[in-house]
């Protein structure tokens, strides 16, 4: 058992195996899949934008290309866009993500190596939500990797690389601003698990203001760089603005698309505002409650983000589910892990099926797929509330005979 989970063996084998699968033609079948890539992360749209950019047409003048200008800069100068190279790059990105996850785990345990390392890498690399998204060449695995790298540097106490990764992540996805607060708290305190012993925030509060300033500086520089790359500010409404105004109603696994397809025109701006602000509401309570363990706060916020953001992919939820591996101390306190698993299984099977029946087969209608995304949202909500409960319940400890634990 111990041998099979040795990180030094498992990690290269898994990466090699994923490379082999990535180099098959499977991505052609998955690149149109709406659960795995949204208009903001789709590989087709990325290629279209790069083609337009190379041919001297501003890709942000239209409404198809919604990726960050940083992707344009990356793919027009450094990397070619051939499919083989892309498959390798995407898989390597996942490998970095898995490696970062293992580093976070090691930093949290304050050890150089544990027997769980291989298992954690496997949980990330073999997570079907992440695996399939990478195969479809959606850019959301890059967002996952940047989030993990940012947390990894934060747990290692490397301030600047962590904030730079977070600023890069913000360029790719505006809603990842949610992760800033736990990240700053993590940089100001320690990553070691404090879930079982809650106490007031131990970090130095005065350190936080310069951290925010540094993050703002990186963001400003990257924003300016994006403007320079794309030759103007048209990219802002096309990339960041799109996640707030939802111009493209292509189905995805989230809750926004059908809601705003069916929304009455005069209520649309109001509900767009409600749905956007709804995401921000969680930051302060979660960070206050888990002030003694900011990594857990970040983990909970990732779960909220993957359920409620405007253009989610399955990879977002995959990141949340894989991160559960970092917190084995909470497992005894999970109330309904089997229900959550079954809900996820149910949604993961129904969504592609109903999507195919609606759009390809023509024998179902939009409600079928919408219903399966509701099940998926239920699964996300169940995982989220259960992790939240377990993270809080652990502080009380093992149940004693003759006593019950309740909420006031």
């Amino acid at each position: 058992m111990k041998l099979s989970l040795d990180f030094g063996v498992v990690f290269p084998v898994l990466v090699a195996g994923r490379l082999l699968v990535a180099l098959t033609n499977i991505s052609d079948a998955l690149k149109h899949d709406h659960q795995l890539s949204t208009p903001l992360t789709s590989y087709l749209n990325l290629q279209e934008g790069i083609y337009l950019f190379k041919n001297g047409i501003d890709p942000y003048s239209g409404g198809v290309f919604r990726h960050s200008p940083l992707f344009l800069a990356l793919f027009t100068t450094v990397l070619p866009t051939s499919r083989t190279v892309s498959s390798i790059v995407w898989t390597l990105s996942d490998a970095i993500g898995a490696w970062a996850l293992v580093q976070i785990w090691r930093a949290r345990q304050r050890v150089a190596q544990t027997s769980r390392d291989g298992l954690i890498a496997a949980i990330y690399l073999l997570n079907p939500y992440i695996f399939m998204s990478t195969l479809s060449l959606s850019t959301s695995p890059f967002e996952n990797t940047l989030a993990l790298v940012s947390f990894m540097f934060a747990t290692q106490g490397l301030v600047s690389p962590s904030l730079l990764a977070a600023a890069l992540l913000l360029q790719l996805s505006l809603s990842s601003i949610l992760l800033l607060a736990p990240l700053i708290m993590l940089l100001a305190s320690s990553p070691v698990s404090q879930l079982a012993s809650p106490r007031a925030f131990s970090g130095n509060g005065k350190k936080m203001a310069p951290l925010v300033a540094e993050f703002a500086a990186y963001t400003a520089v990257l924003t300016l760089a994006s403007a320079l790359v794309s030759g103007g500010w048209a990219w802002v409404p096309q990339t960041w603005g799109a996640s707030l105004t939802l111009p493209d109603l292509t189905p995805n696994c989230g809750l926004w698309w059908y809601f705003f397809t069916e929304m009455f025109d005069y209520f649309r701006p109001f509900f767009l505002m409600v749905f956007s602000i709804h995401l921000l509401i969680y930051i302060v309570p979660v960070c206050i409650k888990f002030q003694y363990d900011p990594l857990y706060a970040g983990f909970i916020l990732l779960g909220i983000l993957s359920s409620f953001k405007s253009y989610p992919t399955m990879a977002d939820q995959g990141l949340f589910l894989s991160m559960i591996a970092l917190f084995p101390e909470t497992y005894p306190y999970l109330r309904y892990p089997i229900v959550t698993t079954l809900l996820h299984l149910h949604a993961a099977l129904l969504m592609p099926l109903f999507h195919h029946l609606w759009l390809n087969q023509g024998t179902a209608n939009a409600n079928f797929f919408y219903a399966s995304t509701l099940v998926y949202a239920c699964a996300n909500g169940a995982a989220l509330t259960d992790c939240l409960w377990a993270g809080l319940r652990i502080a009380i400890g093992e149940p004693q005979e003759g006593f019950v634990v309740a909420q006031e």
Binding site: H32, L44, Q47, E48, Y51, L52, N55, I57, P59, G62, G63, V64, F65, P247, D248, L249, T250, P251, L255, W257, Y258, F259, F260, T261, E262, M263, F264, D265, H278, I281, P285, V286, I304, S307, F308, W358, L359, N360, G362, N365, A366, Y370, L374, C378, N380, G381, L384, T385, L388, W389, L392, I396, Q400, G402, F403, V404, V405, A406, Q407, E408
Partner: protein, 554 residues
């Protein structure tokens, strides 16, 4: 004395009527030709010239316009043209698919399915009044024409408006006003527009003789809208030497073989009417019939003259009532027809999925010389092209070199259509196939048309032939007149205008995925309930304290 003067005036009236009024002339012509497959194409052309008139300079829109006194020129149209300072205007309302392969190139070149409107307008004084900008006047022009023609032209909104640079060239001249900028071009088309009697009635009202006399009397809606193909057009243009010209055209393709085996036709069989009266204000009123070359036939009555193998029948008080009829002596033999047009274009939307597909176009050049064409695709934003997947091939062999130039305006969801203009080289005796991936948008439930399941019609592509010197090819044999002087004048015009030869493909039907129209409330309730439930559970966990209670024995 007064009575005598009145009588004098009455006597002078016919003399006045037969000549031009205050620099306006009206001419009408009817062209009829047999098509290779036994059908009969007819084209009415009513043109009114306002000599010496000029289009309105949009710089003067804030100044009150001079009063408009017209005698033959349609007032309703004149008011619209001057109110919105339109220099050149074209509107076509067509129904059916023009079969280039069997019928050849149409006499009236614009045969796009449904409604199409395009105009050239100069930019108004910048900043003075936002209503004087080109886009505001274009919007107002659409609304005014929608009212005038009882057509859905008003729905040719910004989402359908494009400004292709190469495929369309002005028919007349565009005045160079010193303060105004260059003329802007706006084009919009609505392929799903149904053309019917309610559009013909306002069309006839623009004619000086309405449908009471002259050739317009033949425009019998019961027969015209029963034809295999029919289309009406309004073309306003200006030339410095000629003034403003309004050309109203009605083109149709009848099938005498539909109810029998004989190709014989007459006015009464085609239109169920005859020309009973000449239009008194028409300066010239002619019927031109293309006479068969190889087959024996008889024609009644005999044409007054014969020019370029066309029988000419002037309509005067002496020749009415006129009922031209042609009788073929041999029965019609159905045979395979060689391609009649210089190019044959097919366009298809492939793919079963409602989220993406492939646009496949094949352009066949049966000729022995390579040609160059402009390929214009204007798509509403519900379909967007993945230009990086564009492939050109001849017999399955990729030929990227055939694409000489490409210009593309990407679509903006809910706002702007896309425009793709490509210059392609079509080698001799070969078929070039163009394939490009398309993505289909998902619409808000209010953006679907009332019959959403029927789908949307995409405007046809336009293929424009370029001659070797990169100029659009001019049409052949469009202006034929017996009047030698007029013929020479028109020949000069042909050289001056150099209109491109456009080939329109039929519209395509695309069915975007539809939401359930009956459940906006349900979706709002379901989604909000779920969000509220998760929100409540999370805040329940976050805000309430954990306590340990002693389990009571009971």
């Amino acid at each position: 004395m007064r009575k005598l003067r009145f009588l004098w005036a009455l006597c002078l009236l016919p003399a006045c009527l037969s000549h031009s009024f205050s620099g306006e002339t009206f001419t009408e012509e009817l062209f009829i030709r047999g098509l290779p497959d036994g059908k009969v194409a007819s084209r009415f052309e009513f043109s009114t010239h306002s000599h010496g008139a000029t289009p309105r300079n949009p710089q003067n829109l804030s100044v009150e316009d001079h009063s408009q006194h017209y005698t033959l020129f349609p007032l309703a149209l004149g008011q619209i043209l001057r109110e919105y300072a339109v220099t050149e205007l074209h509107l076509t309302l067509n129904a059916g698919k023009w079969n280039y392969d069997r019928w050849g190139y149409p006499d009236e070149p614009d045969v796009a399915a449904g409604a199409a409107l395009w105009a050239w307008m100069a930019e108004g004084s910048a900043g003075a009044n936002p209503r004087h900008s080109v886009d505001a006047r274009w919007r107002d022009l659409r609304n005014a024409l929608a009212g005038l023609f009882c057509a859905s032209i008003a729905s040719l909104d910004e989402q359908r408006t494009t400004s292709p640079a190469r495929a369309f060239t002005p028919f007349g001249a565009l005045p160079a006003w010193p303060q105004s900028g260059p003329h802007a071009f706006r084009h919009a088309s609505l392929p799903s527009e149904n053309v019917c009697t309610e559009n013909l009635t306002p069309f006839l009202k623009l004619l000086p003789c309405k449908s009471r006399s002259g050739l317009a009397h033949l425009l019998n809606p019961h027969r015209l809208f029963d034809a295999d193909w029919h289309g009406m057009g309004l073309h306003v243009s200006w030339r410095p030497e000629d003034g403003v010209q309004v050309r109203l055209t009605f083109q149709s393709v009848f099938d005498p073989l539909r109810s029998g085996t004989s190709r014989d036709w007459s006015f009464s069989s085609l239109f169920d009417r005859t020309v009973d009266q000449a239009c008194p204000v028409a300066a010239s009123s002619l019927v031109l019939v293309t006479l068969p070359v190889r087959e024996p036939y008889s024609i009644q009555p005999e044409p007054a003259s014969n020019a370029n193998n066309r029988g000419v029948f002037p309509i005067t008080e002496q020749t009415v009532p006129l009922d031209i009829s042609i009788h073929w002596l041999n029965p019609f033999q159905h045979a395979t027809i060689a391609a009649q047009a210089p190019l044959s274009v097919r366009r298809m939307l492939r793919g079963a999925a409602q989220s993406h597909g492939t646009l496949a176009v094949s352009i066949t050049n049966p000729g022995s010389a390579a040609v160059r064409v402009v390929y214009l695709e204007t798509l509403p934003w519900i379909v967007h092209l993945y230009l990086h997947t564009l492939e050109l091939s001849v017999d399955g062999i990729p030929r990227a070199d055939l694409l000489e130039d490409i210009s593309y305006i990407a679509p903006v969801p809910h706002e702007r259509a896309s425009t793709l203009e490509a210059i392609l080289a079509i080698p001799a005796n070969s078929t070039v196939s163009l394939r490009v991936g398309v993505g289909r948008a998902f619409l808000r439930y209010t953006e679907h048309p009332p019959d959403a399941q029927r789908g949307w019609e995409l405007p046809g592509a336009v293929v424009v032939l370029l001659d070797s010197e990169n100029k659009p090819q001019k049409p052949v044999g469009r202006w034929v007149s017996t009047n030698k002087e007029a013929a020479q004048r028109k020949q000069a015009q042909v050289l001056a205008q150099a209109q491109p030869r456009r080939i329109y493909t039929p519209a395509l039907l695309v069915d975007p995925a539809t939401p359930d129209f009956s459940m906006p409330y349900n979706v709002i309730i379901f989604t909000c309930s779920l969000v509220a439930f998760i929100f409540g559970s999370v805040f329940n966990g976050l805000t309430r304290r954990f306590v340990v209670l002693r389990a009571s024995p009971e």
